[in-house]
Point group: C2
Chain length 559, copies 2
C-alpha cells in the first residue's frame, strides 16, 4: 500500500489550509457527526472498561516490571491499569537501532506512514483515547473528542505538512562547475536530510495528546525515533497512541521501536534521566514552568521544544456590550476549570471603570458582573459539568483553598470556590472558580500561573496602565493568550503592538459562542516563543525544521 | 531610494542559486577582476595605513575609554588602533530603543537596506577589510579577498534570501469562519513577524567576517539589533563592518544603534556578560570549542548559533592517482596554515597500506609521500607565503613546539615545523606544518582540534577500521569536513552513510587545483549541527527561521 498516494490529496488540502489559514478540518467538529458515532462510542467504551484494572498490552524492549497510578477525576477511583516499566537504556538502544532504516526510507514513505497513523488514530482509536483523556485529565467528553481528539490530529497534520515542505526544500543533488585558474572543476553534489537522533516527548496531565501528537509526528516525519514519557497521572491516552503507532509502523515494514513508552511514577520520576541521556537529541516538553525551565537549561546538546505555563491576561478598556464580553470571559475562565494553557487568569481593569455606550461602569461593578457571569455557569450543574468538567489534580483543590484563604489579605474574594455536584459522576472532583479582587501591589500573587479555575480582577491606574501591566506581566511571567475589549481603535493598535512584543496571541472584542481561547489548527499559532510560556509554536515551520539536518557529499563528476 | 527594488533582481538570482545550488556569485572570484582593482587596492591601503596608530572613529552610545591590542601576524608589530570601549548596558539600551522602528519597517525595507549594505561593503570597503583581515588573522591577501571578502558576502546574501523566504511564508492576514452551534463566527486575523530581540554576534580571530556577516544580516533581516563582539586580536574587520552598516542604516533613516561594537580585551573578557545579559535573545558564536560549549549551555533564554572547532578527518582507502590525492591533501592542510575550521587534521590510513592501480602502497610510504608533498609547499617561500600565509596567534606556535616534542612518544615526527622566510614580510609569524605518525592508542592526542598546521597520520587496522575511527571521532569530537579517497563504490557508499550520521560534509576523490575544503556559497552547506563542531549551518533556512517569531491578533470581522 502506498500510504503517501493514499493520503496525498488530504495533505495537499491541509497545505493549502496552512497557507491560507482559513477554517478547515478533515474531521467533524463534534462527536455527533463522527461516522456511526453511537456504535463507535459504545465499542470504545467497551474497550475502555475492559482495560480498567488490567495490564496494558505493550510489547516493547527492556520491560522490567510494571507501573500505574492513574485515578479518574470523575470517579476518584484508581483506573488500575498496569503498564510496562521500561529500562530507559533499552529503549534508547532500540530507538537507535530502528533509526537508520526509517531515515533511509525517505520523505514520502515516512509522511505516508504517519498520515496513515493519523487516519488510524481517527478511525480506530479516537473515542477510546477521548475516554482515556476524560478519565485521566478530567476533561468533558466533548472537549476530549474535539480538543484532545480531532483538533490535536489537525495540529499533527500541520506538523506533517511543514515537515514535508522543509525536507523537500533541501535539494537532492546539484552539479557545480567553476574554474580554478586554468582548470574547470565539475562536482556532483548530493544532499541528505539526516535526523538528529532520539527524541523524548513529555506529555502533560491535563491535555496529553494536544502537544504530544504534533511533537511525535514532527520528530518521526523528520526521521527521529520517539520515546514518549507521559505524566504518570495521564498515561492511557499516550499508551494507546504509542501502541497504535507501533502497529502502523510494523504493518508498514518498519521497526516498531521507533515509538516507545517510558513510564515513571510520581515517587520515582524519570524525566531528568531521559533529558540528559547521552543519546537524547530532541526534547519536547509540556508541563510545569519549573521543570520546563530546567529542561530548557539542561537538555544540551539536545534541542528543546517547550510549552510550560500561561499567565494569561485580559484588558478591559471599553466595550460595546459589556455584559456579553463578561459572559464570554466567564465562560472561557470556566472552560475545563481554567486548566487550559490558554485560560485567562488576570483581568486588568481601570480603577475608574470601563467605558460602555451607557456610560462608565465602575471597577467594582465590572468585578461584580464578572463574578455573576461565572456564578451563572457554576451554579447550574448540567452546564457546569459541560463547561467546568472536573479537576485533574488534588493539588489544584488545595491551591484553590490556599488562595481563597489569602483573598482578604490582597483584596476581596469575589467568588469562593466549592465543589459542584456533577450530574453523571457523583464522586467527581469538581470545583467552581475562585475570583479574587486585588491590585498591582499584589503582583507576587498573580504573577505566575495559578493552575485551575482561578481569576484575579486587578485594579489598575487607568487603561494605559492596565495594558502596560498586562503586557509587562505577560513578557516577564509568560503568557500564551491575551484578551482585549476596547472600542478605541488607537488603543487596540497600541495593544496589538504591545502584545506582539510581549508575545501573546491576542483576541479582540470577541463575544458569542466561540470560547475566546479556542485555537484553530491551520489558522491560529499557539505559543510565540517570545516569553517564558514556551519556546515552541504549534505549528509553524520552525517547529520541524531543526529536527533534521542537512549533510552533503560531493565528488568529481564523471567525465 | 527603494533599496529593495534596486537589488531585487540580484536577490532573485541568488534565490535561484540557493535552490539549484550550482556555481554562482555576483562578485569576481579574484581581486584582479574587481573593477578598477589597482586603484581600489591602493586607496584601501592608504586608508588602512592612515588608520594605524590612531583612534578608530565610531560614534556610538556608552563609550567609556578606549581599547586595542591588535598585532599584525605579518609585522608582529601592534596596529596601534584604539577603539571605543563601550558600556554594555548602554549598547543594549540603545539596541532595544532602535528595535521597534526597524521591526515596523517590514520585510522589504529591511532586506533592501541590508542588500544595500552588502553592496556597499563590496564597493566601498572590501579591500580595506581584506587588509584588516590580513593584518589581524594572518590570511594571505588572496584569501582575505576571496574567503573573507566576496565569499563571506555571498553567505550573507544567502542569509537574506532565506530570511526573506521565511518571513514571506508567514501570511499577513486571513479570514476565518466557522459555525459554533447555530452561530457563524467570522474572524479577521493578522499575523506579524516579531523579532526576538537583541542579538550578540561573536567573531573569531582567524576568519572574522565569514561567520559574522551572515549572522549579523540574518539577525538584522528578521528585525533584531546586533551587538558585535570581535575577538580582541581581530577587531578592525568588524569595526569597519559595523561602521559601514551604521552609515547605511542612518542614510536609510534608521537608528544606527541597530549595530554596535562591544569590544573587550584579553585581560578583561566581556563574553559571558554579553551572553547572559538579561536583554540578550540571540547569540552567534564562532570561536573555541570550550567557550562555545559554555555559550550553548548558558545562553538560555537566548537561542544560540555556534561554529566551534573542527577535528576534520581524512580516510585513504584506495586512489586512482595517489600522488595527486596526497598533493591535494597537502595543499589543503597547508592552506592558511591549517587555521581554517575546514582544514583536515586526522589522516586515517590502513596499516596494510592504500590500494593503487600499481599495487598496495604501504602505510609508511603513504605517510612519507604526504610529508614530501607538504614539504614541497613549505620549502618554497613564495608558494608558502601564498598558501601557508601567517600564523594568527603566538599560542599556535607554542602548540606546534609542544606537539613536536611529544611526537616521538606517540609515534614519529614525520615533518617538523619551523618558521619559513616570508618574502614580503621578514618579521612575519610563520610556521610550516607539523606531521606526526601515530596510531589509535593515542586518540587523546588527536581527538580534539589542534589549531594550526598540524596533521596526524593514524595507522588503522584496515579500511573499515579507518572509516569507523574517523566517523566515530567526528561524531564525538566534532568535525565539519571529511575527505575520502576510494575507488570502491561500496566503500564510498558506506562512507557517505557513516559521515552523514556523524555529521561531516564529505568530499570524495577530489584532486586538482580546488582546495578540498573550499565551501561554495549557494551550494555547499557549512556545519551540520550533528556533532560538537557547531550547531548552526551556513546557510540553510533554519539559520534564520528561529530568529523571528509569529504573533497574531484576531477580532470579529466587520459585519
Amino acid at each position: 500500500m502506498n500510504f503517501f498516494a493514499k493520503h496525498q490529496a488530504l495533505l495537499e488540502r491541509a497545505r493549502q489550509a496552512c497557507r491560507e489559514r482559513g477554517h478547515w478540518s478533515p474531521f467533524p467538529d463534534t462527536a455527533a457527526d463522527y461516522p456511526d458515532a453511537e456504535q463507535a462510542q459504545s465499542a470504545a467504551r467497551e474497550r475502555f472498561e475492559a482495560q480498567l484494572g488490567r495490564p496494558f498490552a505493550l510489547e516493547q524492549p527492556g520491560t522490567v516490571g510494571e507501573l500505574g497510578e492513574e485515578v479518574s477525576p470523575y470517579t476518584q477511583a484508581p483506573l488500575g491499569i498496569r503498564y510496562p516499566r521500561a529500562d530507559p537504556d533499552a529503549l534508547f538502544a532500540a530507538a537507535e537501532a530502528a533509526l537508520p532504516a526509517w531515515a533511509e526510507a525517505g520523505i514520502e514513505t515516512r509522511i505516508g506512514v504517519l498520515m496513515e497513523a493519523v487516519d488510524r488514530l481517527y478511525r480506530e482509536a479516537l473515542f477510546e483515547i477521548a475516554l482515556a483523556v476524560q478519565h485521566t485529565s478530567g476533561q468533558s467528553a466533548n472537549m476530549a473528542y474535539a480538543g484532545s481528539g480531532v483538533n490535536a490530529l489537525d495540529r499533527a497534520i500541520e506538523a506533517l505538512v511543514h515537515a514535508e515542505d522543509a525536507m523537500r526544500a533541501v535539494p537532492v543533488q546539484a552539479r557545480w562547475a567553476r574554474r580554478f585558474g586554468s582548470a574547470n572543476v565539475v562536482l556532483d553534489k548530493r544532499y541528505r536530510v539526516v535526523p538528529r537522533g532520539v527524541a523524548v516527548c513529555f506529555s502533560c496531565a491535563s491535555f496529553p495528546t494536544w502537544n504530544a501528537w504534533p511533537s511525535m509526528l514532527a520528530s518521526l516525519a523528520t526521521g527521529n525515533p520517539v520515546i514518549v514519557k507521559p505524566h504518570p497521572a495521564a498515561v492511557l491516552p499516550m499508551a494507546l497512541s504509542v501502541r497504535l503507532l507501533r502497529r502502523v509502523l510494523t504493518e508498514a515494514g518498519f521497526d516498531p521501536n521507533l515509538v516507545t513508552l517510558a513510564l515513571d511514577s510520581t515517587a520515582e520520576p524519570l524525566g531528568k534521566v531521559l533529558v540528559q541521556h547521552p543519546a537524547t537529541r530532541i526534547v519536547d516538553f509540556t508541563g510545569s514552568a519549573q521543570f520546563g525551565v530546567w529542561v530548557e537549561k539542561n537538555a544540551h546538546p539536545a534541542i528543546v521544544f517547550t510549552e510550560t505555563s500561561g499567565c494569561n491576561t485580559v484588558v478591559l478598556e471599553s466595550a460595546a456590550d459589556l455584559d456579553a464580553a463578561l459572559r464570554a470571559l466567564a465562560t472561557t475562565l470556566c472552560m475545563f476549570s481554567g486548566q487550559m494553557c490558554t485560560s485567562p487568569q488576570n483581568f486588568y481593569v481601570p480603577r475608574q471603570g470601563v467605558r460602555t455606550p451607557s456610560g462608565l461602569v465602575s471597577f467594582d461593578e465590572v468585578a461584580r458582573r464578572l463574578a455573576a457571569a461565572v456564578q451563572a455557569i457554576a451554579t447550574e450543574p448540567r452546564r457546569a459539568a459541560m463547561i467546568l468538567a472536573a479537576i485533574q489534580a488534588p493539588q489544584t483543590v488545595a491551591l484553590l483553598d490556599e488562595l481563597e484563604a489569602r483573598g482578604a489579605e490582597v483584596g476581596e474574594v469575589l467568588l469562593g470556590s466549592h465543589a459542584y455536584p456533577h450530574p453523571a459522576y457523583p464522586a467527581a472532583r469538581t470545583r467552581t472558580p475562585l475570583l479574587i479582587r486585588t491590585d498591582t501591589r499584589h503582583r507576587a500573587l498573580y504573577g505566575q500561573e495559578r493552575f485551575g479555575p482561578i481569576g484575579f480582577v486587578i485594579a489598575c491606574e487607568d487603561a494605559a496602565d492596565a495594558l502596560a501591566q498586562a503586557t509587562t506581566d505577560t513578557r516577564e511571567f509568560g503568557g500564551l493568550t491575551a484578551f482585549l475589549y476596547s472600542e478605541d481603535e488607537a488603543f487596540i493598535a497600541a495593544a496589538e503592538a504591545a502584545y506582539a512584543r510581549a508575545g501573546a496571541q491576542l483576541t479582540v472584542n470577541l463575544i458569542g459562542p466561540m470560547p475566546l481561547n479556542f485555537a484553530a489548527a491551520y489558522s491560529d499559532y499557539h505559543v510565540t516563543g517570545l516569553n517564558p510560556a514556551g519556546n515552541a509554536s504549534l505549528t509553524e515551520p520552525n517547529f520541524v525544521t531543526s529536527r533534521f539536518r542537512i549533510v552533503q557529499s560531493r565528488r568529481p563528476a564523471a567525465a
